[in-house]
Subunit: 254 residues, 2 copies
Amino acid sequence: MPEPEKIVTACMLVIGNEILSGRTRDANLAWIAPQLNDMGIRLMEARFIPDIDEVIVASVNEVRARHDYVFTSGGIGPTHDDITADAIARAFGVGIDVDPRARAILEAHYPPGELTEARLRMARIPFGAELIDNPVSRAPGFRIGNVFVMAGVPAILQAMFGSVRHLLVGGPRLLSHTVSGHVAEGKIADALRAIQDRRGGRLEVGSYPFYRGGKPGTSIVLRATDSVLLAEAAEDVVAAMRTLGVEPFEVKSG
Amino acid sequence: MPEPEKIVTACMLVIGNEILSGRTRDANLAWIAPQLNDMGIRLMEARFIPDIDEVIVASVNEVRARHDYVFTSGGIGPTHDDITADAIARAFGVGIDVDPRARAILEAHYPPGELTEARLRMARIPFGAELIDNPVSRAPGFRIGNVFVMAGVPAILQAMFGSVRHLLVGGPRLLSHTVSGHVAEGKIADALRAIQDRRGGRLEVGSYPFYRGGKPGTSIVLRATDSVLLAEAAEDVVAAMRTLGVEPFEVKSG
């Protein structure tokens, strides 16, 4: 687990053919990204991959070595296409079988005779993993090493994330400040570069063009861990807009 | 470019810090996935990566070797954080400079004196690349090898994709059939496995649980290139549901 002062990073793996085919629109990435950010964990990468064993194994091993935390969604249900748990076990080089703790949870949940063999698949947990509580539909997720394996259904993923949130240790939180105005991106670009360069690597400046009411504009998003530096940079952006004859219509922090 | 009968695959690279921070919700993956599918191109992977040069270079080189087509979105605007074009040039080991064709397009578009140095950055195109027409805001994308580099703004990405669609050669199209009913996933799982196993590798069966009107149910999505096999498999799923006493409320193809 990371030390308090270093930058803490994460990767999200969205597992499932249905997202890549366009049938289902993923809602988990957009939900988890700001949750992590608020905790001082930077989501540096997200991958959408299909339900193919070797792709899951290779992806998990690649990203778990590179990031402090890995979160996966999808593929832990009762059907034949739910292969995530087995793939994760293979990625870690450990065995997998029906876990007595998980089995007990499912036995307590289903009426007698309803715990089918298919449902019992949901109790397959890699050796050495800790269960992640699922207050919505009981079948647990699990954590092994720095990898948190969760369900794809958004309500369940969110509940599982709530169950493990206390285990996550973030680093310095990236604060943000947004300045928006009806200025063309190409006109304010030079000023933005200067504002960023002046602060070395301590400020990140993003620039996002938009159209609102038929008029083009740009949102400038500033990010830094130092709140004083951030506020000063935001004032610089406001001044740069005014120099171009544009009054920002929105200046907000957070 | 792929031969007509082989399976044609693609990867999408969504480039930009704003998506990973949760500030912006990506709309391009959900748009492009069904477009490709309709053309017989299977989106096998999507990666969301930050505006970091070495990450873009490594990701592009990894996925362009693995897939027939790579589509990128984001990072080709006029500001300092728009580094995609330079990163792609580095990935291909070629130079990059202001392209005379791209410059001519921007000169024709902006009023005299408005083509700032920042905007001229949008004319930076890797050597050997072909331009991708941008009917929305003129600044072009480009294609180099099997990599199609497009803007992140959805209206522009969609227009650029329209400009290159005729260049893409798909393989056999994956047809689909969906059967939905108020049956628990864990109850129909065994039948689904048998339905898939019976057809070897020629049928893909996905199973997606849902709640509708407070009642749990499952959508079974069947995919195959053979329409006859697909229709038969759909009949098998309907029969399996009826065996469980459930009448499917939706059976649809496509």
